[in-house]
């Protein structure tokens, strides 16, 4: 598919960023890539890997503190870095289009989508009347149904997926030769994500443009990309045709990343192989190969010398930066799950939800107490001690409302929530006891910890408020940190000094301070990097088995719950549409919605092919 002159050619690109008045650290180093016409290149990596910085350098839209040290970015043979700002402005939107992650932030709420599409056309020389006709054509192209009636609508009248289509329409308005998409589907539901990916592939075929697709999800790469570059700590560690790289990954990081990604194809309740440790802080990048502290194959050479990205002999254009690229990993790296404790066959339920409805009052101008909209509409479920129930659904299905009702943050309109026999509607005593019985782990490890408190304070405070462990609070806090695998050296740190994974562990430790019997985890891993997700899922599984906790685990993604949960409930528009043990949900899904969720998961198709 690749023609001779690449649309985009990056060579030796090095960008650094000021972290202090007088300190600069490289965020990407020696990045070399090329994209041909009609080719889709995936750049995959975790946060801090430099994938977005690479995209921003192509567009010359680096944040103020960052600047290009050396290297070149050539578009159709012209050096973008040497261009004047006005030449660059002319190229952006005309020949190079960009698609951003957050479709709502990108669109102007005060302009209709038609105006916004027309704007980019008019700016690049189309006259107004033709621009409107072209905008209609574009909306049709990106799959907006009945574009004549939608063209004068405002962004808020579109759903997330439709907005992303509008953004894609803007990006391709002038038939660009190069498209850059930075996590274009990350903010979207799985089923919508599948549609957008299909659209991007179709546009590549129709327009023949080169596409750089930046993602953290290796499943997406597998599905749509012709070639892939894996980035780690600012460098490309492996690069080649997707088939070569994913069938025979040669870099230990690529292998580990593929293994730790939750997959539908894997067996139930098997521990996810996590990558130990966490991605390095750019300011303290390890010497030699940046991956060596987490690598099972690390040798002395790896700690001392940076491996160059070299071509392998067996596959054309498959390059790897690893001293041990030829070696295979010792098989001992597979973590053997501790034999599950003797499980009761039918433990007693810790949480019972019966015919629960949670409604929001619809406010009308003239009267209060009008009809209610039910976010949760007649839900029955139960969680047993020492078992985990996965609750899966897309955004807006009511799963977070359900979670917040279970922990007593919201009041049910009707129906019943009983935790260990107690209810939130009971007396003061009963509610106080419930507070200790059920705890919550939150989604966003950035906002769920008070930024003004140290980790020590955060973990000690619940003990003080509830008057627990009066004699040895520091000892209890140490014990909690041990349970979640954190070192006591973090006690004096503030949350912003911790990585996302560490913060989520603190969040779990905080939930455990009051020795609860039920943990409600609302999307606890969706904000974390793939390699860290696996660690947190495994930690929850261990705690469930060790402490006999009941867990209500909420996720938008079926593949995540498979490794942890004993039972799965699928939720759609406030109702539970499927509720069964994990194996049957995955092997013989009954409801069409469950089937569509399973089919939409990235990598689902290829996994099926391999099976």
């Amino acid at each position: 598919m690749t023609t001779d002159v690449p649309v985009l050619e990056i060579d030796g690109l090095t960008v650094d960023i000021a972290i202090d008045d007088d300190r600069r650290v490289p965020v990407i180093a020696d990045v070399a890539l090329s994209v041909g016409a009609g080719e889709i290149l995936g750049i995959v990596g975790e946060s801090g890997s430099g994938k977005s910085m690479t995209a921003m350098s192509i567009m010359r839209m680096l944040p103020g503190a960052a600047s290009v040290r050396h290297g070149s970015v050539r578009y159709a043979g012209r050096d973008l870095l040497a261009m004047s700002e006005s030449e660059m402005t002319a190229l952006r939107g005309e020949e190079i289009g960009m698609i951003f992650q957050d479709p709502l932030a990108f669109l102007n709420p005060l302009m209709t989508v038609g105006q916004q599409i027309a704007e980019v056309l008019v700016l690049h020389g189309t006259d107004r009347r033709r621009a409107r006709a072209r905008a209609l054509e574009l909306l049709r192209l990106v799959g907006v149904r009945d574009p004549e009636s939608r063209i004068d609508d405002y962004p808020h009248q579109f759903s997330g997926g439709m907005r992303q289509r509008v953004i894609i329409a803007i990006a391709v308005a002038n038939n660009p030769a190069l498209l850059i998409a930075d996590e274009p589907t990350t903010a979207l539901d799985v089923t919508v994500q599948a549609e957008i990916l299909q659209l991007l592939t179709r546009l590549r075929d129709d327009l023949g443009a080169g596409l750089v697709l930046i993602t953290h999800d290796i499943g997406i790469v597998e599905e749509v990309c012709d070639s892939v570059a894996v980035m780690y700590a600012g460098r490309i560690v492996e690069h080649g045709r997707t088939a070569d790289v994913l069938r025979q990954p040669r870099h230990p990081y690529t292998r580990a990343l593929m293994r730790s990604t939750p997959r539908l194809g894997l067996a139930d309740r098997r521990r996810l192989p996590a990558i130990p440790g966490q991605p390095p802080d750019l300011a303290r990048r390890p010497a030699g190969c940046a991956f060596h502290p987490r690598c099972p194959l690390a040798s002395e050479q790896c700690t001392a010398e940076e491996p160059p990205l070299i071509r392998l002999h067996d596959a054309e254009a498959h390059r790897v930066a690893c001293w041990a690229a030829g070696e295979t990993e010792p098989p001992a790296a597979v973590e053997v799950a501790a034999p599950p404790p003797v499980r009761e066959t039918d433990p007693s339920p810790i949480l019972e939800v019966r015919d629960l409805r949670v409604g929001y009052q619809r406010r009308s101008l003239l009267r209060r107490g009008g009809p209610r909209d039910y976010a949760v509409d007649g839900v029955d479920l139960h969680v047993r001690r020492g078992r985990a129930l996965g609750l899966v659904g897309e955004s807006g299905c009511g799963k977070s409302t359900l979670a917040r009702t279970v922990v007593g943050l919201l009041t049910p309109s009707s129906g019943e929530v009983r935790v260990a026999g107690g209810s939130w509607t009971g007396g003061r005593r009963e509610r106080a006891a419930l507070r200790r019985t059920v705890q919550m782990v939150f989604q966003d490890p950035y906002s769920s910890l008070n930024p003004r408190q140290t980790i020590g304070t955060i973990l000690t405070e619940p003990l003080i408020v509830h008057g627990l462990h009066r004699d040895d609070r520091p000892g209890r806090v140490e014990e909690l940190l041990g349970l979640v695998g954190l070192s006591t050296s973090l006690l004096d740190r503030y949350p912003y000094q911790l990585s996302g994974g560490q913060r989520q562990r603190v969040g779990i430790a905080r939930a455990l301070t009051l020795e609860p019997e039920l943990i409600v985890a609302d999307e606890p891993v969706s904000a974390l990097d793939v390699s860290v997700q696996a660690q947190v899922i495994n930690l929850l599984a261990d705690l469930r088995d060790k402490l006999g906790l009941g867990i209500l685990f909420i996720a938008h993604d079926l593949s995540v719950v498979r490794h942890l949960c004993d039972e799965v409930a699928v939720m759609q528009r406030g109702h539970i549409v499927e509720y069964a043990d994990t194996a049957s949900v995955f092997e013989s899904p009954q409801h069409p919605y469950t089937r569509s969720l399973l089919a939409a998961a990235p990598g689902a198709r290829t996994v099926k092919e391999q099976l």
Partner: protein, 291 residues
């Protein structure tokens, strides 16, 4: 309910040694605005506090030479009853500082707390907000006149007037900041952990809105200087023979053409103080945004 996904690309590498408070002060002082603002405010305060002890002239002693120009003994000249203008300027500035430094902290604490009351009781919360709306609707000087008429004009009435003028703005500020914090998950986490409402309010939310309150404090210090000046200018502020910046501007305005320094010197001090506070507020605000 929606899925928040962060790619985390913006997470800047951090240096874990310094405490956030110290970094914050450093960030304020590093900007030219912050430095100039601080130098202006601290400089004026120092001169006003130390000055009257150092110079030989007294602010209240009348002399034979009325309305003379600047000289070696009278640096800024004298007023209509022969009192040394420089000494009066220093003491007047000091009076101003005392008034504002009593009034604004009182109004800051009151306003901030009343602005947060809504978290404990919704009805009390909206009552406070409506009260603030009413107070905000009345022009500052009219409010000051009303206070001066109700209690007798003097330092006390000026302080009450400043509190009434600035408190609603603290109240609005703290409510806005509070509403920004409530959706944060750490608040829900505190509730799930069974912390009492008042504890969540004071131990968790308050520390997180303080930086916004500090900015407001600097702005309202500037406002207070202006209110004092305005009230004294119409004779309802600090009463003679006690000097104050506003009173000096008023009495000096009669001699504006013959003896311009009389009223211009206090004007310069007022402008200096107001500019200093506002620059400081600006720098604080920028440091907050950067965090």
């Amino acid at each position: 309910m929606s899925v928040i996904v962060r790619t985390g690309e913006t997470s800047a590498p951090t240096v874990p040694t310094r405490r956030p408070q110290r970094r914050y002060v450093a960030a304020v002082l590093r900007t030219p605005r912050g430095l100039i603002g601080l130098v202006l405010v601290v400089g004026i305060i120092l001169v006003a506090v130390v000055g009257p002890w150092v110079i030989p002239q007294d602010a209240l002693t009348q002399g034979p030479d009325a309305l003379v120009g600047p000289s070696g003994t009278h640096w800024l000249g004298t007023d209509e009853v022969g009192r040394d203008l420089f000494a009066r300027l220093l003491v007047g500035t000091r009076v101003d500082l005392v008034v504002t430094l009593i009034a604004v902290p009182i109004s800051g604490v009151l306003g901030t707390l009343l602005g947060m009351v809504g978290m404990l009781n919704r009805f009390a919360g909206s009552f406070c907000q409506r009260l603030f709306d009413v107070l905000l609707g009345v022009p500052a000087v009219i409010l000051g006149i009303a206070v001066a008429l109700a209690v007798s004009p003097g330092m006390g009435s000026v302080i009450i007037a400043i509190v009434l003028v600035t408190m609603p703005k603290f109240g609005k500020q703290s409510r806005t900041a509070l509403l920004g914090q409530l959706p944060q998950e750490y608040v829900a986490a505190a509730e799930v952990l069974g912390y009492p409402r008042s504890r969540i309010m004071f131990r968790h939310v308050l520390p997180n809105i303080l930086d916004a309150i500090f900015v407001r404090f600097a702005v309202e210090m500037a406002q207070a200087v202006v209110v004092e000046g305005g009230l004294s200018l119409i004779g309802l502020g600090i009463q003679p023979p006690q000097p104050s910046l506003g009173a000096m501007i008023k009495s000096g305005s009669t001699y504006l053409f013959d003896h311009p320094l009389y009223s211009m010197a206090p004007v310069v001090v007022v402008v200096g103080l107001v500019a200093g506070y506002l620059l400081l507020a600006d720098a604080l605000n920028e440091a907050n945004l950067r965090r």
